[in-house]
Amino acid sequence: MNPLVLWFHKLGSPPYFYRFAGKWLPWLYALALICGAVGLYGALFTAPADYQQGDSFRIMYVHVPCAWMGLFAYLFMAANGFVGLVWRIKLSETLAMASAPVGAAFTFITLVTGSLWGKPTWGTWWTWDARLTSELVLLFLYFGVIGLYHAIEDRRQAARAAAFLALIGIVNLPIVHYSVIWWNTLHQAQTVSLVGPSKIAPSMLWPLLTLAFATHVYFFASVLARSRVALLELESGKDWVRALLPATETPHD
């Protein structure tokens, strides 16, 4: 078999994944922390104040990366949920459920920082603008997935039910993304684009991209850490988990 495919198969085994994630975690946390610190320095010190919004535009540096992460985490959750539902892969179900609280945290930050930005810029904390409303629906979808997962006793059945809900909720993602184009309301349209030039000065752009990178790395670190714990719980009867207990705790006969 192709070595990459073989490795992928091996990664699906909980004890192998547990060790693999444990090895990578400190590096991911360190990378996220360093990039986050550099990005925040750029955001607060080197980026010039906006000519219209003054210093309030600096909220963008936490608001926009978190907004991107809210959508990215949902896509990651739904994709893993799909794989878990179709191929019954335990690790995919675990990864899907581990990304829900992280995505919810990012979406929550997006909504609150957006509110803090809206007050000085639009003169209101909240309005039922299309982007704001669909982002709130995204947060509720995360809550629904987390709630459903915890409402069912059997962990694997719970993960599959919640993954199914996550898949239905994917319909909200294009609504969040295109809301600023489809409905012309308060929220501004995107200034940074993957295709075509961004409408933002480079001195303002680089901290944003650095922070976006840092939050992506952080997301994967958090998902790996959460998955490790979930696998310990899921496989608590297995020998590899028993072997992790301190020696004094294991029974001797």
């Binding site: 945290a105 609150v112 850490a225 207990l245």
Partner: protein
């Protein structure tokens, strides 16, 4: 420096945003640490109980 902390009048909006970002992500990073401790303690207790049942 005072200018920096005042954010030219936007301090009340900028600083809470950055604080929320830091606090929420810190809480998210600590959650698996505590969850892991809880799971391992629970598991150790179960193993101990099973062992004491086996040796009367």
């Amino acid at each position: 420096m005072t200018d920096f902390f005042a954010m030219h009048g936007y301090a009340a909006y900028v600083w809470p945003s950055y604080a929320l970002f830091a606090v929420v992500l810190l809480a998210d990073a600590l959650a698996p640490v505590f969850a892991r401790r809880h799971v391992m303690r629970d598991l150790a207790r179960r193993v101990r109980r099973a062992a004491s049942r086996k040796t009367p």
